[in-house]
């Protein structure tokens, strides 16, 4: 493994249900970087994260995470899945129980949770402002609160790499700010590497070190400033898009330009 890259993906092709979802993807995620992943719906962003987690097997190409094949470094990865609503909302577990599941691991089989687990769980819940709801049933939380609980679950294992799939969907603006501040803090203090999928191009480009724009293929991979200049985002999104800029080269949002859009990209 290169010292510089925590994730190395080469020639990765994924086929799901007979459809090519990722086509010959090559990309890296640098150690200590904050990488943003953008792309339209169905672009394969979640699929890419799942490959890195070892949940989906590619048909071609390789992915290496911390120098290992995916699935070989669970303890080092924190993951926030795309939707917090997939779990059965009546499931009889408290917020604390769910967050504590972040401490599971193959080396932890056969024992109960210990004090260190409880401390880490508590710290993670405080980090997302859910400590006061620790005993509440997970399913009784609002969508945004659940999302925060899942962020805490990802954090309490002490990850070196955070894979976040639209983690702030349904999270209110204040909590979003808190969340992004928390990420920046973590990145500085713990030297964590972060990969974040988001549709919020504005926020993401103002925060990240690297931007990857994905739509079946990699359309763009580099520092966000350069990336935005050459209209690659538009190509990835399959239509002419206009990036509304404001302030110092901060794109606010991208809008399709009506009348001259090439729908098929």
């Amino acid at each position: 493994m290169s010292n510089l890259n925590i994730v190395e993906v080469e020639g990765l092709t994924v086929i799901l249900g007979g459809c090519v979802v990722l086509d010959d993807i090559t990309l890296n995620i640098r150690a200590g970087s904050f990488t943003g992943l953008i792309g339209p719906n169905g672009a394969g962003k979640s699929t890419l994260l799942k490959v890195l987690l070892g949940l989906i097997q590619p048909v071609r190409g390789t992915a290496r995470v911390f120098g290992h094949a995916p699935g070989g470094s669970h303890g080092l990865i924190g993951y926030v899945p795309q939707s917090a609503n997939t779990q059965d909302s009546g499931f009889p577990v408290s917020v604390q129980d769910v967050v504590m599941m972040g401490r599971l691991g193959p080396d932890r089989i056969g024992g109960l949770y210990n004090q260190a687990d409880r401390d880490a769980t508590w710290e993670a819940m405080e980090g997302v402002g859910l400590a006061s709801m620790a005993k509440q049933r997970f399913g009784s939380l609002s969508g945004g609160e659940r999302q925060r609980a899942l962020i805490a679950r990802a954090m309490c294992g002490g990850p070196r790499l955070l894979l976040l799939d639209e983690p702030t969907t349904g999270v209110d603006v204040v909590a979003q700010d808190d969340f992004y501040n928390m990420l920046t803090r973590l990145k500085e203090s713990h030297k964590i590497t972060i990969a974040l999928v988001s549709h919020d191009v504005g926020v993401i480009t103002s925060m990240v070190d690297d931007l990857i724009c994905l739509n079946q293929k990699v359309f763009l991979h580099g520092p966000p400033g350069e990336a935005l200049k050459d209209g690659m985002i538009g190509k990835a999104y399959g239509s002419q898009t206009e990036i509304v800029m404001h302030g110092h080269d901060v794109p606010h949002r991208h809008l399709p330009v009506h009348g001259e859009g090439d729908e098929n990209g």
Binding site: L53, F91, V93, M101, L104, I109, G110
Partner: protein, 285 residues
């Protein structure tokens, strides 16, 4: 084959109505001990059955025990042994079908379950062995429980408790969020297989008392009552144990007193608990 009197206690036989009288019979002592063991086992397993929505799988496995027993009768193998082997096989097959995809899980279970019952009927036909007391195997009997059955149930309970305690946090995570368990490096395939085998052995050691058809009542209802009345799995587990014990003890008493198949009386008491729990006024919407 079929008997007029499912418990085998002749109606004319002198029977006391008090628990003490009931316990003066050796068969009732065995049935009661077996009931407490089987109740505990079913209560623990039913929590996971309810959490992971496996009730149809439970019914599928228990019905397939019929096939296993009939094959045992055909080949002259011990029926409990053949049912055990068959049910564990069926349980793992169902687990494999559900992982493989392609066909939806309930369809897979439906096929496995009906075909193994059919196989049982065919095997019984070939064996021509009508000494098998079909009625008590289907609906349970307090007279059917031998001391080796009690020993087998006790051993099974001990092993099951060790497994469940050791793997509790993994089992819970698997039921709650399978993908997350995989992300954390838990072998969810193995966890699923363990749960399936647990379900299968629970079914088999419960059959003598509860019957092939009615064992599924105790595989679902105790955990369901716990889930209805509790916000947390700990409370669910405690309530599940309570409901299973009350159902078996009361059910066995009713079986003894009124001469009905024990599986039926236990299932009815459990069902009563379930409806009472659902009707119970709650804060939760």
């Amino acid at each position: 084959m079929a008997m007029m009197c499912p418990t085998g206690i002749c109606p004319s036989m002198e029977r006391g109505t008090r628990m003490v009288d009931m316990l003066s019979h050796g068969f009732m002592q065995r049935a009661l001990v077996a009931g407490l063991i089987v109740g505990t086992l079913c209560a623990v397993v039913s929590v996971f059955v309810v959490l992971k929505k496996l009730s149809f799988i439970g019914a599928g496995i228990s019905h397939s025990a019929f096939g296993g027993m009939a094959l045992g009768a055909l080949f002259g193998v011990n029926l409990t042994f053949s049912a055990m082997a068959f049910c564990v096989g069926v349980a793992l097959l169902i687990g494999w079908l559900s992982r493989r995809g392609g066909v939806s899980e309930d369809v897979g279970i439906g096929v496995v379950f009906s075909s193994s019952m059919a196989m049982g009927v065919v095997a019984l036909g070939f064996s021509g062995d009508y000494t098998v007391d079909l009625f008590s195997y289907l609906f349970g009997s307090i007279l059917a429980v031998s001391s080796s059955d009690v020993a087998l149930a006790g051993g099974t309970l001990a092993v099951a408790l060790v497994v469940v305690v050791a793997l509790f946090k993994e089992l819970l995570a698997y039921c709650f969020d399978e993908e997350w368990a995989m992300v954390r490096g838990i072998n969810t395939r193995l966890i699923q297989d363990i749960l399936m085998v647990l379900l299968a052995v629970t079914v088999v050691v419960s059959i003598k008392l509860l019957g092939i058809i009615l064992v599924s009542a105790l595989l679902v209802i105790p955990g369901a009552v716990g889930r209805v009345l509790s916000e947390n799995y700990r409370g669910q587990m405690a309530l599940s144990l309570a409901v299973a014990q009350v159902s078996t003890v009361a059910g066995l008493y009713i079986s003894y007193r009124f001469d009905v198949a024990s599986g039926a009386s236990v299932a009815l008491v459990a069902a009563f608990c379930f409806f009472a729990a659902v009707a119970w006024p709650r804060r939760r919407a």
